[in-house]
Symmetry: none
Subunit: 196 residues, 4 copies
């Protein structure tokens, strides 16, 4: 078995266990057992529980940042950009449920993660989001009388609210529900909830 295989086994096991039990209730022994390796090996590769957790979270942030960058630089319709951001979360929910669950329950609002370092990660994502909003304003699509960081908070807050419902309720996500969710969020975000 190649080196990478074992490392991946451990990371996958860690994803599953962190998600099931939360960071604090996760035992290194659980992870090792789930990965089918000795727990010495977990230390061999990752050094500590915290490092292992950080590796996972780092992975999340990197895909998140990358997606935001892509949307920022893409030439799509502004509305499509927003939809793609929402879809990113729904895609992750469908394909990396452990990862997004950990993000929701252990990272996003967690005192465990919110050391200065964690807060910086969080703010960087908001800043990227804000830049997209600024672009929207520059293009004349978004109104200019509301601060772009308000929009960024609002937008990402709304997405997280929807994702949290899915994650905490462990709810299934059909293609249809996915599209309804995307449309619902974009609709409200762009047009508001007032009857015309």
């Amino acid at each position: 078995m190649a080196k990478n295989d074992k490392q991946e086994l451990i990371v996958d096991a860690a994803l599953a266990v962190f998600r099931e039990k939360g960071y604090s209730n996760t035992r290194m022994a659980d992870i090792a057992k789930r990965a089918g390796v000795s727990y010495g090996l977990v230390y061999h590769y990752f050094g500590s529980k915290e490092v292992l957790f950080d590796v996972i979270v780092e992975g999340w942030w990197n895909s998140y940042y990358q997606m935001l960058e892509e949307q920022k630089q893409s030439v799509s319709d502004f509305e499509d950009k927003l939809a793609n951001i929402v879809r990113f979360f729904l895609y992750m929910y469908a394909n990396k449920p452990d990862l997004i669950s950990i993000f929701v329950t252990e990272v996003s609002r967690s005192s465990i993660y919110h050391t200065a370092r964690g807060l910086a990660k969080f703010r960087k994502s908001l800043a990227l989001c804000e830049e997209i909003m600024v672009d929207g304003q520059k293009q004349g699509i978004l109104r200019k009388d509301v601060g772009p960081h308000y929009m960024a908070y609002f937008f990402s807050g709304a997405i997280e609210a929807f994702i949290s419902i899915l994650v905490l309720g462990n709810e299934p996500l059909s293609k249809a529900r996915e599209e309804r969710t995307v449309n619902g969020i974009i609709q409200i975000f762009l047009n508001g909830t007032l009857a015309k």
Copy 2:
């Protein structure tokens, strides 16, 4: 010293410590020391760390539910109702910062709290919020082509996003910022972000 005094001392100390360290990193000894009482007295009154935490969280949910009920039954303008909901959070942030901080970091999205019981509390609050949205639709104020539960998620998600920023960044809240925040949220929620 009356019985209630000591109980309150303990609850206040617990609020402070849970907020500072998070549930998992809170030591019962810290709480006792902070409250200036003996170790055993905390157990005399509360039985366990979990119960003590639940007492605090219960207090949060009760004020939250009560406020939502009040807004639902009030005859104010619909917009005022929404503003009052936002103000509730900002008021709590100003006056019970430990409590709202615990809500944000240890309850709202926390795997620690999200047992079935916790999820039920969460859903009840969303349901109350949804009822208010339904009223808004009936009054002809809110559009009817977006489901009221979408609106509820959206609205509370947005509020929580703003509050989280305050809590995690431990940011000061001036009267001016307070009003800007209320207006920003209501503005976007009702009218959306599109330029006209």
Copy 3:
């Protein structure tokens, strides 16, 4: 309520709880609650858990010693004396089940009780029993080629074995079973088990 009443309530409650949970697993709070008094009062009357236990055990030894003395001094048939000793245990089992249960499980062979003091109590009872055996030998009823203390151990060991079965299995004791037990023990003790 007279002073004695409360004291008795406490002793009765202690009997029940010590029997149910054993000495080590008994909490003073359990006893107080069962007695319907505050636990300060238990200390007021008895000073400590150990003292309370000793009061109960003392009660056992006193009735036991008294019965043995009575049998020693009585002019009954020797066989009746032995039968009366057995009957004493069976009577206690029927009428003071908590007390005899505590004797069996917490006193007779218990390391908890077997401090020097406990051992002395135990030996005094064996000595009394031995005196009865010596009388039996003097009367020419018991054989003289077996030491009377052997007989005493043997006899009381046999009784305790039967009583233990009842106590540990919490078995009912009909009048018929009672007589069969008495006869069985006496029969074997006097005549042995060999076929003639």
Copy 4:
């Protein structure tokens, strides 16, 4: 040092400490210190105080059952069988004093041990003993007008009484005393105490 060595060190230490202090007053720290190993290693191998105790008690029951089975199946004189049973206890007293002491004070009549599981162990030993008595009756050696389970209770009760005296008094056991004890018990059990 081989794995088994440390495990044995721990079991031996546990035997000594359980015997000296009794189950309830035994501290896991005492056992670890006595064994010369760290605190955690006891848990590494045995998981809990209760499990460690059970391992020891299981060891007792197994040797006891095995001995009874051997005697049941042996072709010795019936009287020799009985003598061998008595000798088993005396041998244990001489060679595994901690084990037999624990049996007497913490198992045989202990409320701590007498859960349903414990009672079952106890009854199995009585049942084996009874089978031997039944054989004795079938061979025409034992009288048939006394139930075999009476005999079993009687016999094992008598042995335990003698052993308890030794254990609780921590008495030395010379070869001579050993033989006197064996003969005394067998004598009374078979021939009774009546003068002829």
